[in-house]
Symmetry: C2
Subunit: 341 residues, 2 copies
């Protein structure tokens, strides 16, 4: 394994060291807003892309060929590990799981994947990427946070408010807690394997923490997210804790073992920055729909985020994935503006 330069902007900033510039990457930067991504996607299904290392590596690299980004993020999906856990997975276009997990027996039936065997294409992609990427570009791998994984495992498909998941949490708290613990057991080896294969950082994605009260998040979700963040940290990776719906959770996020706390757009960066410990690096948090504003407004919003985050402990990003309808030219404008801040 080659490795990224620890003094390059992304890794230096993540570890709280001085950096030559404010680093940035864009959530879902390898995605449908890029015509070259759509060209690959026309030939193969989403799942085939995830399972074919050469396709996954290709689309991961596409945005870095166009834009001066500081990190690549492995192209995969947070649900890919449910297949070797024993749960069939299709996309239509949203995810559909073949079974749902709502009992202690179903939790116990979830298998713990052996990443090098069961998730070989993902790790092959990482190795391909680390060999291709220059030393000044970091490679980010990711896993779903236990609560977000539990949402899909309980309901089997997307939901607005994940009411059935929260119902299970209250109706069968032991089953629910066992499910969260089982997800940690299933994903911790993957976190380790991603690191060993060449990921410099691991982002734990909690896409659905937004539906939890602050108390339930702190009681149930956060300790299990922290376990995965600690696994990443102990493996020598930078640990990034992304929480969508951070507004009610930011005080608990401040207590996580992550190097970097990444937040959605709902809470202004000044408020996030104020409520996190001063040594914690923050990532975010432009509303992705801001990219549809006129260029002057967009640039002003980019500057506002940077100003509110302050110097030195900020990785610029959106607060959520870039939308498919986005004009790629806006990404170039954002990068130019971030480098002026």
């Amino acid at each position: 394994m080659t490795a990224a330069d620890p003094n390059a902007p992304f890794l230096a900033t993540c570890r709280g060291r001085a950096s030559s510039r404010r680093p940035l990457w864009i959530m879902r930067q390898a995605g449908r807003y890029l015509p070259e991504y759509r060209a690959v996607r026309q030939q193969v299904s989403f799942l085939e892309m995830c399972h074919a290392a050469e396709h996954a590596a290709e689309v991961t690299l596409q945005p870095l060929r166009r834009f001066d980004l500081d990190a690549a993020i492995l192209f995969t999906d947070l649900l890919i590990p449910v297949e070797p856990m024993g749960v069939g997975l299709t996309y239509d276009p949203g995810p559909r799981l073949a079974t749902t997990v709502e009992s202690m027996d179903a939790v116990r039936a979830l298998k713990i994947p052996d990443p090098e065997h069961d998730l070989a294409p993902m790790l092959d992609t990482v190795r391909l990427l680390r060999a291709e990427l220059p030393a000044d570009k970091a490679l980010i791998g990711f896993v779903g946070a236990p609560f977000t994984m539990a949402c899909y495992l309980v309901e089997g498909q997307g939901s607005k408010n994940w009411d059935a998941t929260r119902r299970l949490m209250f109706a069968e708290p032991k089953v629910f807690d066992a499910l969260l613990d089982r997800v940690v057991d299933c994903l911790a080896p993957l976190v380790d394997a991603l690191r060993r294969a060449g990921c410099d950082a691991i982002q734990v994605f909690d896409s659905w923490a937004s539906v939890l009260s602050a108390d339930d998040y702190a009681r149930r979700a956060a300790p299990r997210t922290d376990a995965l963040l600690r696994t990443a940290r102990d493996a020598g990776a930078v640990a990034i804790n992304y929480c969508n719906g951070a507004a009610q959770h930011v005080d608990r996020l401040a207590a996580s073992p992550a190097h970097v706390t990444a937040v959605d757009w709902r809470l202004p960066m000044r408020e996030v920055r104020r409520r996190l410990p001063s040594e914690m690096v923050v990532q975010g948090n432009l509303d992705p729909t801001t990219l549809f504003a006129d260029e002057a407004t967009l640039r002003a919003e980019v500057r506002r985020v940077c100003d509110e985050a302050g110097e030195g402990r900020h990785i610029f990003n959106l607060g959520h994935g870039i939308l498919p309808q986005t004009d790629p030219a806006t990404v170039a404008a954002i990068i130019e503006e971030v480098h002026r801040c």
Copy 2:
């Protein structure tokens, strides 16, 4: 019009006066969790129920026959006014609007309803209800908040993140602001008419403010919500400001002209109470999925909410609508527990 007794628990509490007990009602208390509601619903469609005063009055009264609630809430839907605004409406089962509003011309084409003419069944329902309800039960009418109405008018159906709505907000801010203003113009006469027909309180429902950043909410959504709250207040009604996704907005909610601020479950009541002015009455905020817990846990959570809200300026409620799968017996347990607090 007869009127509710201003000294009955709900109205006294809303106006900051001493009350014989802590009042409560349950969002969506007239709903599918009640077998008697499902019996009516089997005979007529959802829209027919909204448009037939005798059906709408019947289902409004059903929960008050079963439970010692302090208020009835008019059975209707926040989208009913879009029909006389000129936008066709069906339910399948979620709402489908016949046209979408994405240009200045489309905004200007929205007609301002004459409530007594165009929304006669809704107002007839209010008159029926006020005549039937005892003086110690308040009657709550409601309208959608301008931002939430704009979400449906822009996208024509439900959405997870209302990305297209926020895209319009950034891409065409003048169109978006004009749409919000137009919704205020369309709904203000309805607020007045609901009050004149006999509603003691008007709740403005912002179901989707959760997708807005605190800054965009404060800049665009909140001033228009405030306009409707002020209309209610000026008409002599109690004004209730319900915000789903209050976590990032609570400081702005503190500045609204509402008598009562009603919040979802995400932020603990202690935090909401701490951040609202001491004279502001607060409504909420039990997670509706808590009703699936064992009874001891449910009762403990009810007590926690009441304890955190404190004495005297609290209307107990859920943080969102009661779920269809809920056992009605849990509502009786909640009421008993609230009356012990």
